[in-house]
């Protein structure tokens, strides 16, 4: 059992996992704000497509979406000849794309619920002091909704980390990918998979701690009252 090789391999997959989760977490959650705003919009032509988007993405397995993007899109000559092809034939870019889309749908629904829970009185108070629609959205509704959904977003981020492991099926060499290649080459099961498990548990723990800290910071105003 070559432990040195196993550890070097897993550690070379570690930054790929972290990068993938961080990048698609940031881009996906930014897109989720747009999805949530569209879902709560008064305009039907914004609300319906957003509902269709979240229903389709949340109603199908992520692995199917990843296969559709990575293996599926290449079926069309138009795609293969387009300027996007260098991105769409790269497994890492496809993984990032699929995870971002998925995050946009799941977090978008979380934010939609939080936006619906912002007390009406606050919006009316904003109106009565003469704030515009977008001023109310950006300075009252979204900050409150964001703070309220922070614990759920922590969960969603852990789910994103866990979901990111399936990108090894499109040949990305993340932690899971390195562990699986090692398993296939050495016919050893427990050492590579359990070592990968330790890394994932450490990352899960880090994400939970990070969000708990952010939550404490954002709720600091409460401590000064009373």
């Amino acid at each position: 059992m070559d432990w040195e090789r196993l550890i070097t391999n897993l550690l070379s997959g570690f930054p790929i996992t972290v990068l993938l989760v961080a990048a698609s977490g940031i881009v996906g959650n930014a897109a989720a704000v747009l999805v949530a705003l569209a879902r709560t919009s008064e305009k039907v032509w914004l609300r319906w497509p957003a509902l269709a988007f979240t229903t389709v993405i949340r109603g199908t397995p992520l692995i199917v979406q990843i296969f559709l993007i990575y293996y599926g899109l290449g079926q069309f000559r138009e795609v293969r000849q387009s300027f996007l092809w260098p991105i769409l034939k790269d497994p890492l870019w496809c993984a990032f794309l699929a995870l971002s889309i998925s995050t946009a749908a799941y977090s978008g629904e979380v934010l939609r619920g939080a936006i619906a829970n912002v007390p009406r009185g606050l919006v009316e108070a904003g109106k009565s002091v003469g704030l515009g629609k977008w001023q109310i959205r950006l300075t009252i509704v979204l900050p409150l909704a964001f703070r309220q959904s922070l614990p759920v977003l922590a969960n969603e981020t852990v789910l994103l980390l866990k979901a990111s492991a399936i990108v090894f099926t499109i040949t990305v060499r993340d932690i899971m990918g390195e562990a699986n290649v090692f398993r296939a080459q050495t016919f050893r099961v427990y050492e590579p998979l359990l070592s990968a498990a330790v890394l994932y548990l450490a990352l899960t723990f880090t994400i939970r701690r990070g969000f708990a800290l952010a939550e404490r910071r954002m709720n600091r105003w409460r401590e000064r009252v009373g």
Binding site: T55, V56, R58, G59, T60, P61, L62, I63, V64, Q65, F67, L68, Y71, G72, L73, G74, Q75, F76, V158, L161, K162, A163, S164, A165, I166, F168, T169, M176, A179, N180, R183, V189, Y190, L193, L194, A196, A197, Y200, L201, T204, F205
Partner: protein, 239 residues
């Protein structure tokens, strides 16, 4: 020249994969349902362990849910599928050397998915039983009811009502998770679609068909779950 027309490829005529895909969809549903049922058993047992069990059972249950919920589902599936089968083989070798065993891929997939589903269902049941006000059991006891009828007629029905919405969510997750067993070579819907995709060189057509089937299953499941919830809420109002 192989066919590229989606309707011919996915249809039931000559060169159509319709029947194969249908059989794959049946395997997917069987695996998801069996895994969910196994998860239900695990969930009830470990919720009991967490709430009423001795310290070692409580510790084991806590450890199980924390670890499984912190790991990628696909990693748990690979661990149980490859690790579990090689452990069973080693065990058989120890008992009767030279003997070989064939481990059923379907069963291994069900156990792997069930272990993941069970970790989530454990916390659903625990929260449901914790959500019942203490006074309920105390009132029943003061009426002279015994332990078993209290559980069966007072606690369990209320817990079920509280557990139903999150249990529905876990079903939707388990249904989608079932696509992961194709990674270890099980001929479920995604597995057979992968064969069709590489044979016909029309991957988009096949994976799109898979996505549509899952979407329909999810939407139908969601509709059934909300009807079930409405029913339970109604029976509650009659009391």
């Amino acid at each position: 020249m192989k066919p590229t027309d989606p309707f011919q490829l996915l249809g039931f005529g000559e060169g159509g994969w319709g029947l194969v895909l249908l059989a794959g969809a049946a395997v997917t549903l069987q695996i998801a349902l069996a895994a969910y049922a196994l998860g239900l058993l695990i969930g009830l047992l470990l919720a009991w362990a967490k709430l009423r069990g001795p310290w070692w059972a409580r510790g084991a249950a806590e450890g199980y849910t924390t670890v499984v919920q912190g790991l990628p589902d696909i990693l748990v599936i690979l661990l149980i599928y490859y690790g579990g089968t090689s452990a069973v083989r080693d065990l058989v070798q120890m008992v009767s050397p030279g003997a070989t065993v064939e481990i059923n891929a379907f069963a291994a997939g069900v156990v792997a998915l069930g272990v993941v589903s069970g970790a989530y269902q454990t916390d659903v049941f625990r929260a449901a039983f914790q959500g019942i006000p203490r006074g309920q059991a105390e009132a029943a006891r003061s009426l002279g009811m015994r332990q078993a009828p209290i559980f069966a007629t007072v606690l369990a029905p209320q817990a079920l009502r509280l557990a139903l919405p999150p249990l529905g969510n876990v079903w939707l997750v388990t249904l989608k998770d079932s696509a992961l067993v194709s990674v270890v070579g099980i001929r479920d819907l995604l597995g057979v679609a992968g064969s069709g995709a590489s044979f016909s060189r029309q991957p988009f057509t096949f994976y799109m068909a898979v996505a549509v089937v899952y979407l329909v299953l999810s939407i139908v499941s969601g509709w059934l779950i909300s009807r079930l919830e409405a029913r339970v809420a109604r029976s509650d109002g009659r009391r």
